[in-house]
Subunit: 410 residues, 2 copies
């Protein structure tokens, strides 16, 4: 494709400029090499509700929601008003602002097992700190996670391979998702040495289908953790406040000991949090945690309003319903054109791909055609529904999908 | 002291409420146990320029500046306007906004040796990532730092002790600040095994005097690094944009290979950055880095304006001048009352303490009296000057210090 054919020439030329002064031009999960290079936009200009506009002035109905943070819709007026009221007073002080206490109380009241909360900026800040709390509490060393699970970018869990040393993962053990026997095997090999199991609410690997927990899986995992004195950490950074108003475990029927939130907590305002069981509070107070902006008040004020609005509009139910409709609609649209698709994941974080393909080439083509039609989907990363999405948005998406599947059939 | 005697009863009662739902009530560097418990305020209500107000309605002339981030003064109108213009368009998108490129270009143009930039949220995000880039580039394992230096809260460098395992620091070597022979000794013991030396622009330990680099120290360190193929990383998280407009090394006469910024970069808006040498760009593009809010546009827009205003008003020179005046004034005020004080650190990040004391008790008393007078200083952490501080603020501080030293003499 030449530059002049592109629908996103401004994105491409900004990217050329960026590549001069930024390694890779755009790095991390937003890197064009991880989307559809040359077809997807690279730069955003503005956003509102369920829509955003790229730097070429193209408007997209957005099913990615900034990879999760946007849960009420972009630039939600009530959240932004709460943020603005706090901003006028100030954001980053010598001390926390009272809103920190109010937010901790609000979160503790929502998360059934938790009696305390702390705050950070990144998801990784909280997942890593939780492991340290578990190590301090149990005085054990090993951490268990699921193979291929994403828990952030710190050395113990980054999906990258460069710049690591063997010590970074010396105390990390893995077993496949949903494989209770795999966990039991680890328990046998490392008796009384495991501090914690860290797990997401379901499995959402990049370049793969999402997998929900098998019937009874978490109950069994929880029982094994209790029996062996292992702390169960729920990494709810991605699922939090989409599956349940107070921790995804409450929709899955189990109880962790620590839970990490980020993304949807503040509708895009930078904040993460960990909540924990009462008897972990002393250990938690010993593991040093802080950061230059961790006590900043604006994201906390935004989060407090975000969570309350989420309740008032019954956002959890809404997102689940919309996501289910979207999956169903895309399946019908695909079938009508002779394609079999696999719908996976929780409805509020759905993923739909061609079922009979061994790679993601056709999926990229489909997402590229959809982007041309003004609908933004991701070819190999789970999608995110927000409360700003409506049934009409689903219908529009499905109608456009029909046209794109039809084009692919040719 | 009983509650009713306190000048900060609202802070104390909010703290009681916080302690119910937050481990330690307030954690990290803002923890009251790290200031003057019962005397210093614990919660901030609002701030403006060089002043802030606590939740008891008390106004403080502030020499801590949120522990560094506030460099132009709280709620700086131009920075907030730039942030608000971007905020109306949006903050956290599916893609970066064009302002990311503009900010990278601005930073690269300021930092003499650098050709590229990346952005994160915390200082630790950037110091840790820089080590990984150094390991990737050199294919070596060990990291060297100065004993007692602060580089963030990740496991390899946290000042805390809880929750760590031996592997966290297995590849970390240390030598005392300003001790070239100590560095040479390490070089001899670990030939061709050291990836990087990470250093601040000067030594600013908590509970101690700051120490500037000795004459020729950095030149010698730099030459040793070059000779042994070791990358020199300047952790300018605390000093950046206070000592120099484009990296503190430019005021100290040496050249690092990587530099980490945070704090003063965005006048309180959450952002950190690493810049590096051209030939490190490939390694940098390989070490995965990302975070939920790392591409958010508002802090980048704020930073761009912050840095330009800093130039326009000659903020670096201003802060240095004000800090020098403050140190000189406090010294005179102390001497007049028979106290010898030690002034240390860079003038823009000064620290003044009782010279003949073996602990910080009298220093706490002094800071406590100053807080009662409405001047906020820290007993054992370096202070920060901002561009909002004036000669009148220095005079006011010195006048009040005279009164406080006088009270202490009794």
């Amino acid at each position: 494709m030449t530059r002049s054919d592109s629908l996103v020439p401004q994105s491409l030329s900004l990217f050329d400029r960026a590549a001069e002064v930024i390694p890779g031009g755009i790095y991390g999960h937003m890197s064009p090499v991880l989307t559809v290079p040359g077809e997807f936009p690279y730069y955003a200009e503005r956003a509102e509700g369920a829509y955003y506009w790229d730097v070429d002035g193209r408007k997209y109905l957005d099913w990615i929601c900034a990879y999760g943070p946007i849960v009420l819709g972009y630039n939600h007026p009530e959240v932004e008003e709460a943020a603005e009221i706090q901003r006028r007073k100030g954001n980053c002080f010598n001390h926390p602002a009272p809103v920190m206490i109010e937010l901790a109380e609000e979160l503790v009241s929502r998360v059934d097992f938790a009696s305390w909360a702390v705050f950070g900026k990144n998801g990784s800040d909280m997942t890593t700190w939780s492991l340290q709390v578990a190590r301090e509490f149990t005085q054990r060393k090993y951490i268990v996670r699921n193979t291929g699970a994403y828990h952030g970018t710190h050395a113990w869990c980054t999906p990258g391979h460069a710049g690591l040393i063997p010590e970074d993962r010396a105390a990390l053990l893995e077993f496949p998702w949903n494989d209770v026997e795999g966990f039991k095997d680890i328990l046998q090999r490392y008796p009384n040495q495991i501090a914690a199991l860290i797990t997401g609410p379901f499995h959402y690997p990049a370049f793969g289908d999402s997998v929900l927990p098998a019937e009874g899986y978490f109950k069994e995992i929880e029982a094994l953790c209790r029996k062996h004195g292992i702390l169960l950490i729920l990494d709810d950074v991605r699922g939090g406040f989409r599956l349940h108003r107070g921790g995804s475990h409450q929709s899955l029927g189990f109880t962790p000991d620590l839970i990490c939130f980020c993304k949807a907590i503040g509708n895009g305002h930078p904040l993460s949090a960990t909540l924990g069981r009462a008897d972990l509070k002393t250990a938690a107070s010993k593991v040093f945690l802080t950061g230059s902006y961790w006590n900043s008040a604006v994201p906390m004020a935004a989060a407090l309003t975000n969570l309350r609005v989420l309740d008032r509009i019954q956002g959890i139910e809404h997102m689940s319903r919309i996501g289910s409709l979207l999956m169903k609609g895309l399946e019908v649209a695909a079938n009508e054109n002779g394609f079999k698709v696999k719908c996976s994941g929780h409805p509020a974080m759905p993923f739909v791909r061609f079922a009979e393909e061994t790679n993601f080439m056709r999926q990229q083509e489909f997402c590229s055609l959809m982007a041309r039609e003004g609908v933004f989907l991701h070819p190999h990363h789970n999608w995110f529904v927000s409360c700003a999405h409506t049934e009409v948005d689903v219908l529009e998406t499905v109608e456009k999908a029909k046209s794109c599947y039809r084009q692919l059939k040719k």
